[in-house]
Structure formats: C-alpha cells, structure tokens
C-alpha cells in the first residue's frame, strides 16, 4: 500500500501477522480462500492431495494480517490462521519436579 506521507504513529502501531495452516488432505480445491483473501496471500498449487484435488499453498506468508476470512469461507474446515509469534523465546519451566 502506498501512502502519501508516513503516518505519525507508524512506529507505535504493530500489525499482527498471521500464520496460515492448511490441512492439505481435507481440501477439495474450491479456491474460495484464494479468491477472497484480501491480501492475496494464497495461491492454488500444482501438487495433488490424497483425493486428487489441488490444495492451496501460502505464496506470501509475510503478508497475512490474521483476518480469518479464509478460515470462515473454507467449506472443508481445512485452513485456519493463528497469530504469528514474532520472537520465540525459549520456554522456561516455572515449576515442577523435573527441575532439580
């Protein structure tokens, strides 16, 4: 998106990014998610799944803004979006017997 000037609060606002998960073998290749993705993140792939359909693949993984429209429009419940973790810190165990 082109802006005519830089927004004043652009350094404060952080856009939440999504991570798309596709359960390929459930897909029946209707391409609703590809058609209606507002950011055009998805594209139909050339590969076949177990049922002989072409599932989509994530073409531009960094563009997803976690709007969940593909998840809502999928008739097969085969695509869903989670919030992308920006910086993955190592998980520390708070309590438990394992720690000695």
């Amino acid at each position: 998106m082109k802006l005519w000037r830089k927004p004043l609060d652009s350094d404060k606002i952080k856009i939440i990014r999504g991570e798309i998960h596709i359960i390929k073998d459930r897909c029946k290749g209707c391409s609703f998610c590809v058609e209606y993705c507002p950011k055009e993140v998805l594209e139909m792939s050339e590969e076949f799944n177990a049922k002989g359909y072409h599932p989509p693949y994530v073409k531009k993984p960094d563009d997803c803004v976690e709007c969940h429209l593909c998840e809502m429009l999928c008739p097969e419940f085969s695509i869903f979006v989670t919030v992308k973790k920006e910086d993955e810190k190592p998980v520390t165990v708070a309590s438990g017997e394992e720690q000695t």
Partner: protein
C-alpha cells in the same frame, strides 16, 4: 504425522500437530472429516458460521441441541460435537419441538435444507411458527433437491432447469422469509454463503432470541443446480452473489422473491416479540387451574 490406515482401509487425513489444532476442533467431529459435501458446497460455510455464532453468543455447548432432517444439510447433525439428532425426512421441527417441551433449558437448533423444511416438512414449519416454539431454524437453501439427484424443489426459481424440469421449472417458488413471517416467526433473516461475517452475527443474534427464528442461508450447489443450469462452478456462484446481492434490512418480506439469476435481497427483515408456546401454556394453566400451591 503420516497417514493413518483404519481397519476399513479408509485413508484418514493427516492430523495436524498437537500445538496447532483447528479452532473448531471442540465443536466439530474432526474424525468424521472430510465430509460428504461436494467441492465448493456452501453448507460447510454455514456450519462454520454457526460454530462461530455459538462462541460469539457465549452459548453453553452442553445446552444446545442440533436437529437435522434428511438431505445434504441433514448431515450436519453427524458432524457437530453437540447433542445432535438425525431425524426422519421433513420432521426435524417436530422432533425439536419435543426436545424443547421436554427440557425447556435446551436451545434447539434445527439445521436442515429447503427440501426438508419447506417441502415435506412445510406443515411442521408453518405450525411451529404459528405456535412460536422457541427454536432457531437454519434453512440452507440451494434451490434444488441435491442429494437425490437434482429434482425440482419448492424453492427452485421459475424457468430454472432441474432433472425433473427439462424445459424449465413452471412452479412459482416459495418465498421463505414471507412464509415464515406470515406464519408468525419472530426473527427472519436471509444471507448467502458469501456473507459469512453478517451470517455469523445474525445467527448469534437469533440464538439469543426467544421464539421461532428463521435464518435462510443461500448456498451454492455446484454439482446440481449450477451444473444443470450451466452457471459454472461454486466460485462463479459466489461471484454472482458478490455482484447481485443487495442488503436491505427491514425490507417488506413480500418483495423477497428470488427469480432465476435475478437480484437477491439479503438482510434482517423481521425482529419482533411474541409470547412463545411455553409462556402461553404456563400462563393459560395458571388461569384455568389457579397458581401453583
């Protein structure tokens, strides 16, 4: 995880890793997937919208019961992880009335198709609306009897082809919102499978409404309706909805007829209050027999 082979030899789809599970996993029976609906059928979208509406309306899943009849949409009862009931053809409203009367705390949701609810179950539909039984009816309208091979349904638009109308349908179709309103429904809305967010909001609103609520979901049928009428695949139907749907809230339900490839008017048409059957019944009993001692 690799593919799992069951004893029947059916290849089960790959199960995602435990930390990333589908958000609808707690409300749908994912072991039954992939479902039987054709590619680009809109019923799956209606189910997604319904599960999202359940979460939005903060309903307790243990107190919601889904009743379905026969047909493509009748299979919904088998795919939800709620108390569900797959009943005889046309009778989901009758069975739902029984559930409602036996346990008034349960919210009954009748999820069925146009052929089941409006054709064979037409009388149950109008009489449940007349009595104002507290239930939500989700009527998925795909304009045809899809599961039996594309015969003319009471919602097939004039001049549309079907396997039993080789020269075009000559019967004027039912206008479901008008039928529901004139029979006495308290909440009537119509959306297409493309309007998922509005459909979710409408279903959430209807779930909290007391009385007979009807939400019509217009769904693309790529295998029968659009194939026989040469309207392209499901995506072309969705594009048609995108270009030809007009949202008019509060429109007079008389004007909501759907013709063959004409403009479809969507929106929330009726939202009113009427005493429900159970309220009337208990009130009448106290009038006749006196208050409970």
């Amino acid at each position: 995880m690799a593919e799992q082979k069951t004893t029947t030899g059916v290849v089960k789809p790959e199960i995602p890793e435990a930390d990333v599970i589908h958000p609808m996993e707690n409300l749908l029976r994912m072991d039954r997937m992939p479902h039987i609906w054709c590619s680009s059928c809109g019923i799956g979208i209606a189910v997604t919208a319904f599960t999202a509406a359940l979460e939005k309306a903060k309903m307790d899943p243990n107190m919601v019961s889904i009743v379905s009849g026969i047909g493509c949409t009748g299979r919904v009862a088998g795919y939800v992880k709620l108390d569900s009931f797959h009943t005889t053809h046309g009778r989901p409203i009758a069975f739902g009335t029984g559930i409602r009367v036996a346990n008034p705390n349960i919210k009954v949701v009748v999820f069925s198709g146009d052929g089941d609810l409006i054709a064979i179950g037409g009388n149950h539909f109008i009489h449940a609306a007349r009595r104002n039984i507290d239930m939500l009816v989700v009527c998925v309208n795909n304009f045809i009897y899809a599961m039996t091979g594309g015969q003319v349904a009471p919602t097939t638009p004039l001049a549309a082809y079907a396997t039993t109308s080789p020269y075009g349908c000559v019967e004027p179709p039912f206008n479901i919102p008008y039928l529901a309103e004139s029979s006495g429904a308290v909440y009537v809305a119509r959306w297409t499978a493309l309007h998922v967010r509005r459909l979710t909001n409408s279903l959430a609103e209807a779930l909290q409404k007391k009385g007979f609520s009807v939400v019509e979901v217009i769904s693309p049928c790529a295998m029968y309706y659009s194939r026989i009428n040469r309207l392209g695949d499901g995506l072309d139907m969705m594009r048609f909805y995108h270009d030809n749907v007009e949202i008019r809230h509060g429109e007079d339900t008389k004007n909501l007829d759907i013709g063959f490839q004409t403009k479809i008017i969507c929106g929330k048409f009726v939202d009113r209050e009427r005493p429900t059957y159970m309220e009337r019944y208990s009130q009448w009993l106290t009038e006749v027999k006196g208050a409970k001692k």
